[in-house]
């Protein structure tokens, strides 16, 4: 084995070793690295309910209700398996919509009601023109009618 090959092997070994070490560390901190908990995780007691934390999921269709003061909104965050009712007072981001992703930070009350201090919209990876979005919606509608 030539000296330079030995050196290269040593470098490769070092990179792999650092990589494995990082993987183990990240794995150990896994629960601290998540940005939000899903309603199912909250139901399973995985979320730190004693302090403020974030929940994430979809805004349930038809669940958004604005209060008379114009600022407070009630809605339900769901991951299609479990759901959590949320109350938030403040300005909602542009992308906040029923059926779209949302992340809310706040506290979970004893009654299972989540009081949010901040609401962030989570955008998905789909980019398309409005006409295409309409076409997709039409197609889904047609499909669901056929299924029924």
């Amino acid at each position: 084995m030539q000296a330079r090959h030995r050196k290269l092997a040593l470098i490769a070994f070092a990179v792999v070793a650092v990589g494995i070490a990082t993987t183990l560390v990240l794995n150990a901190f896994r629960s601290n690295l998540v940005f939000f908990f899903t309603p199912t995780q909250v139901a399973n007691g995985e979320a730190p309910t004693a302090r403020t934390f974030r929940i994430g999921g979809l805004v349930e269709a038809g669940s958004v209700k604005r209060q008379a003061d114009g600022l407070t909104a009630n809605f339900v965050v769901t991951d299609t398996a479990r759901a959590i009712p949320v109350t938030y007072t403040g300005i909602l981001p542009d992308l906040f919509k029923e059926g779209k992703g949302v992340v809310a930070e706040g506290r979970l009350g004893d009654d299972g009601h989540f009081t949010a201090t901040q609401v962030l919209a989570k955008h998905d990876e789909n980019y398309m023109p409005p006409e295409a979005a309409d076409a997709v919606a039409q197609a889904q509608k047609a499909q669901s009618t056929v299924a029924e």
């Binding site: 330079r4 990589g19 992308l95 990876e125 789909n126 295409a132």
Partner: protein, 243 residues
């Protein structure tokens, strides 16, 4: 043809000199085409309206920020194993451009995040690991500047790059491994892109422009590094003489 001969600074110097204007012209032309597609041809997004057009800068910059670090780590490994002077110079020449693209990705992301998410900045895994990448670039440049002996500076910097390179897969896969606010990849090698054709084209043309820009500035920078480090070499003196 023996590619290894291009590892010699005296042969690479004139070659890079001829390539810089070509790459710069290509970068300018592609950037003009990409921006035209991005701003005038690509349709409005169905949810985000016009605000999504930041992706024509944001995504190519973010790709470049990760890719340049991989290339720097590659040259660092080659330099450490083969003791080639030029690979260390290449590493050094790429760092400022990598830092620039990282900063651009973070900055444009913040601009987009405020109206779309409702926050300039959040500490999710994607944003945090990209910020660490910026610190890695700045740390590398600071380390290079802090050590007077260029050969020792090269080795120390190379080691930092080889340790820091583990961050690149973390950035890329952060949106898969953890719940993040940042959305997943719209474009990947394993499946069809989840975006409209013209939007995709605009982004890819801008990415190519970023590539050629990087090549042009890195080669221009490496030429000055070669001259600075080889100033006592015979071929540099001869060139000086002729000029």
């Amino acid at each position: 043809m023996n590619l290894n001969r291009y590892a010699s600074p005296s042969i690479f110097y004139p070659l890079a000199g001829r390539l810089v204007p070509v790459f710069a012209a290509l970068a300018a032309a592609l950037a003009a085409a990409g921006l035209y597609i991005g701003f005038f041809v690509a349709p409005t997004d169905f949810q985000q309206g016009e605000g999504y057009r930041i992706i024509f800068i944001h995504v190519p910059a973010a790709w470049m920020s990760m890719f340049i670090y991989l290339v720097m780590a590659f040259w660092s490994a080659i330099g450490l194993a083969w003791n080639t002077r030029l690979s260390f110079m290449m590493t050094r020449a790429l760092a400022p451009t990598g830092a620039l693209f990282t900063f651009l990705a973070l900055w444009t992301g913040a601009f987009w995040g405020k109206p779309m998410w409702g926050a300039w900045w959040v500490w999710d895994a994607r944003l945090t690991s990209e910020l660490i990448l910026l610190f890695l670039y700045m740390g590398y440049m600071a380390l290079q500047a802090a050590i007077d002996d260029p050969r020792r500076a090269d080795r120390a910097g190379a080691l930092l790059n080889l340790v820091g390179v583990v961050n690149v897969p973390i950035i890329y896969f952060s949106v898969v491994w953890w719940n993040t606010l940042h959305q997943g990849a719209s474009v990947s090698l394993t499946r069809a892109p989840s975006m409209a054709q013209t939007m995709l084209w605009g982004m890819l043309v801008m990415a190519l422009a970023a590539w050629f820009y990087t090549l042009a500035v890195a080669f221009a920078r490496v030429r000055t590094l070669i001259l600075a480090r080889e100033q006592r070499a015979q071929w540099v003196r001869q060139m000086e003489h002729e000029a």
